[in-house]
């Protein structure tokens, strides 16, 4: 009797039902990515708080449908929130537009970053790569390579833990000396690098052994583009247009080079 479920190693993996309970998960990842790109690029010219705020509000409404749990959102969204706040603070202290400009800068950064984050997190990596290759014509080799590498991320985390324990076993510990702490950190990083190169080589060999790169591939999975996917992109365009219109009507619209 082997253990049925070894501790779940693959953290970037979708649950067996594909997470279909969540509305946003059902879209083609390529469509989500395009919609996020559209919102992100569309917000570059506008630096006021209202335009960004409308988009941000619209995107926040989608959050409950994305299947992202609170911890993940905090861990992945935290850095962006921090970035947005610090961006706002710097603008407030040194910017020419005072509190209003600062709020605009913070909101804009969040509104640009959040759609991409949701698109990435609400998509299964396999479907994302299928979508990229089949819908957006991304070359196959890098897409497959990235996908295979994602599988190794949890393995890498395990190796890092082991290396850290092994250093303690050999009597290597920084204690309170900061210089020593840095040199030891790089020693561990090097050991991890060696291990991960080894793992990567083995995986590449295994892929070659399964005839990867010998000729034209066929695809077992079809990345389907439904009408809903087109509508998602249209919805993103609509949200953007609404944000600009509202901001212009209220007289709050400030463009980047104005």
């Amino acid at each position: 009797m082997g253990d049925r479920r070894a501790p779940d190693m693959l953290t970037l993996d979708a649950p067996e039902d594909g997470g279909l309970r969540y509305w946003l998960v059902g879209f083609n990842p390529a469509a989500k990515l395009l919609a996020a790109l559209l919102l992100g690029l569309g917000l570059v010219p506008a630096v006021d708080a209202v335009t960004g705020g409308v988009v941000l509000a619209g995107v926040l409404l989608l959050l409950p449908f994305s299947g992202i749990d609170r911890r993940t959102l905090l861990v992945l969204g935290g850095p962006f929130l921090l970035m947005g706040l610090s961006n706002g603070l710097v603008n407030y202290l040194y910017g020419e537009h005072g509190a209003e400009g600062a709020l605009g800068a913070a909101v804009r950064l969040l509104a640009i970053a959040l759609p991409g984050l949701i698109a990435a997190v609400s998509s299964d990596p396999t479907e994302m790569s299928d979508g990229l290759v089949q819908r957006l014509r991304v070359p196959e080799r890098p897409a497959m390579g990235v996908l295979a590498a994602l599988r190794l991320v949890p393995l890498l985390a395990d190796q890092w833990r082991t290396i850290t324990l092994a250093r303690r076993a050999r009597g290597l510990e920084a204690g309170r000396n900061p210089v020593r702490r840095i040199t030891l950190f790089f020693g561990r990083l090097f050991a991890l690098l060696v291990r991960s190169i080894r793992t990567g080589t083995l995986l590449a060999t295994a892929m070659d052994a399964r005839a990867f790169g010998t000729g034209p591939r066929t695809r077992a999975r079809r990345s389907r583009w439904r009408r809903a996917d087109t509508l998602l992109i249209a919805g993103a365009a609509l949200l953007l247009a609404a944000a600009y219109t509202l901001s212009a009507r209220l007289g709050t619209l400030v463009l980047l080079f104005s």
């Binding site: 009797m1 949890p154 082991t162 009597g171 077992a220």
Partner: protein, 523 residues
Amino acid sequence: MAETHGRTARPGARVELSGWGWRHSGRGEYALRGVDLVVEPGERVLLLGASGAGKSTLLHSLAGLTGEDGAISGDQEGTLLVDGEPADRGRGAAGLVSQDPETQLVMARAGDDVAFGPENLGVDPGLIWPRVHEALDAVGFPYGPRHSTGALSGGEKQRLVIAGALAMRPRLLLLDEPTANLDPAGAALVRGVLTRMLAETEATMVLVEHRVAEVVDLVDRVVVVEPGGGVIADGDPAAVFSGHGRSLADQGVWIPGNEPLPELSPAPGGGALLEAVGVAARTPFQLGVRSAPRRVVLDGVDVTVSAGTATALTGPNGAGKSTLLTMLAGLSRPHRGQVLPRGPLAGADRRPLARWPARRLARHVGTVFQHAEDQFVTTTVRDELRFAPLRAGMGEAETDAWVGELMERLRLTRLADVHPYTLSGGEKRRLSVATALSSGPSHAPDVLVLDEPTFGQDTRTWTELVELLGALRAEGRAVVMATHDGLLLRHLADARVRVADGRAVYASASAAREAAAGRRTRG
């Protein structure tokens, strides 16, 4: 449909090597040279040889991985033909299964992974899924095709790897120690799959396996190769073993009926050195989307480690043996409970082991990790061994004398200036044990903790290791090891702790003897 019957209908490939040799790039010596060998379609061959004899290289070459644009670079001489063509041209004719399932699965979901090979071969998309289901059935995969590959045990992963090879409909099956990384239950599962599969297919098979007894029923021919040379024995398994068994065993090959017999002094026993009291452990924190929450793998575990005693932790993979070991070694902090020093060890520091400074810990408790590379911290074998004694304050001359003696004892002398990473598997293992011991003869660690110390070792290294551990035990030191190795348990284990379902239970001595007897009759 013809397609569904294809697997049984396709005849095996014919393999022909003449004057074949291989030298890894950057090496002076050939791994194999002058190999002349013909394997007829449908033959099942067991390839044997001392460790470092280039068996894996031969399999990789047969899989077409060593050609001009192959994954493995080096110099080839002579010819290697699969069905009359150089192997690297007919890639896809061969299906390769290697040791470590972790680095052979490409995709996140089981079905996608099996489909990966057929996709690469350009199989019509409509025919891929029937093949995938057939292959999953053939290996008795217990879950659906959407099951996450990350949530499988080692044995299940390896079965999936075999399914991935089968779905390519190979005419040549190449198996490189397919059960080496698995626990006994997982290994038995995979052997069952191989037996069934070989009965159904006509594919030619070449198998590399150290533990001969476990696979001898699967093959009808044994070929022995010599490091740096060619074929030295070839024929019916019984004939090869009776003619060459002794010399093969001396070279380190595990031959049925020729298992090593280590010379061990009896265990002196002694008082407690370490005590785990009500220890609990959780899975490590995982960063990621939809990652499993931390869960408790061990709870309320009490273990006592005594001087002059070898304590073995057994149990299935993933049950928490390694976790318990790192806590006993003072490397990680238990979630609840404590690991406390007892007796003379408490004289060094009374605090729980996890709070000891690393330097003190290293002097009293030595740890040998499963992957030897993890614990190397310098760039040469000599420096690796000098590291601990110099830090412990031993003088230069004394250190050099002790390091010289250690290297002599573990046959590492000629490798003194080599980088530890470039050593062979057996050499790495010997060095990793030596580093844990190298604090010096007068103060070798009181407790030696080892994770799967004999894993994947040939008989020579195995015997040396077991005798070394026996000698340490005779000196009154405590040995704690996690292991699946039945032979090691039989020879060295004085106390057995079975770790399973979050608990650690002491096995009684009589139960242990019965288990050993059962293993003997099976082997």
